[in-house]
Amino acid sequence: MSKYDAKYLEDKLRARFDASHVEVSDDSDGCGGKFSVIIVSKAFVGQTLLQKHRLVNQSLAEELKSIHAFSQKTYTPEEWEKVQQQK
């Protein structure tokens, strides 16, 4: 059990990264231990993949202690646009 839900993570990430788009999905059937997130933010411009993931990990350092499985995708607004076009 984890005390976090998708809404909480979404709000926190949106505020922290001034994100233009955040998607959080709870893959744990509500028990709160497994999340995947998509974050689109200008804060990622010019960062390497590793740096982007580190930023996200740091912003959720406390939460990740009790979230068992966490996966993330991080995009700059420009990258996100490309991804959308490919769909």
């Binding site: 993949l49 590793l50 993931h53 580190r54 990990n57 740091q58 350092a61 990740l64 202690k65 499985a69 966490f70 996966s71 993330q72 995708k73």
Partner: protein, 216 residues
């Protein structure tokens, strides 16, 4: 050295938090197999008593502790290092109990003998092979979905790599998170540099950058 019987939970806490790695048998008086395991622990205590300590506790009397460690059957043996459970053997598996005890005793003595700090150890481990994967389980038996997916992807590249099972070493498991400032496993290192976890590997794969990244 003999197997020490735990009388109360303070005593239990003191034993498992000790500097010495602790082998704890969760047992019940009505289960004959427990006596058998207890005999084995007594023998192990004779050989390894200077490096490990052996304790036994009544799983039903200490039901809270048993719950915490999800003891579902007796006997169960749990190995503790400075308060954290680092390994376990469920049921009467004498061979596993002996080999795990011996392995822990060896690592205890090698750490003491070389005076190696944790940082040195971590550095050596991440540089052990050009491509190193820290994961739960090993390549043949990954013990978490993320580790499993990661191994499948890396196997596709046909690149040689080595793995380290973080479930076998709590000190490395916690230490590497801090050392590399990366909170989760699996972790992939190329020539001693952290590449990332599964998400990053997947993204590199999608961008056709995986092989070049893993070659470093």
């Amino acid at each position: 050295m003999a197997v020490l019987t735990v009388e109360n939970s303070e005593e239990y806490q003191k034993y498992i938090s000790a500097d010495k790695t602790t082998v704890a048998l969760f047992s019940a008086s009505w289960a004959e197999q427990c006596a058998q395991v207890n005999d084995v622990l007594n023998e192990l205590a004779n050989i390894l008593g200077d490096k490990l300590q052996f304790i036994t506790l009544d799983a039903e009397k200490f039901s809270e502790i048993s719950m915490k460690h999800q003891i579902e059957a007796v006997p169960t043996v749990i190995f503790f290092n400075k308060g954290s459970a680092v390994d376990r053997v469920d049921g009467v598996d004498i061979a596993a109990i002996s080999s795990k005890s011996k392995k822990l005793a060896e690592s205890a003595s090698s750490a003491a003998a070389t005076g190696q700090t944790l940082e040195d150890r971590l550095k050596n481990l991440i540089n052990k092979a050009p491509l190193m994967i820290f994961m739960k389980g090993d390549r043949n038996a990954p013990r978490c979905g993320f580790s499993k997916q990661l191994i499948a992807i890396v196997n596709e590249t046909k690149l040689p790599y080595e793995t380290f099972d973080i479930l076998s070493d709590e000190e490395v498991r916690q230490g590497l998170k801090t050392y590399s400032d990366w909170p989760t496993y699996p972790q992939v290192y190329v020539k001693g540099e952290l590449i990332g976890g599964l998400d990053i590997i997947k993204e590199l794969l999608a961008n056709n950058e995986l092989e070049s990244s893993l070659k470093g």
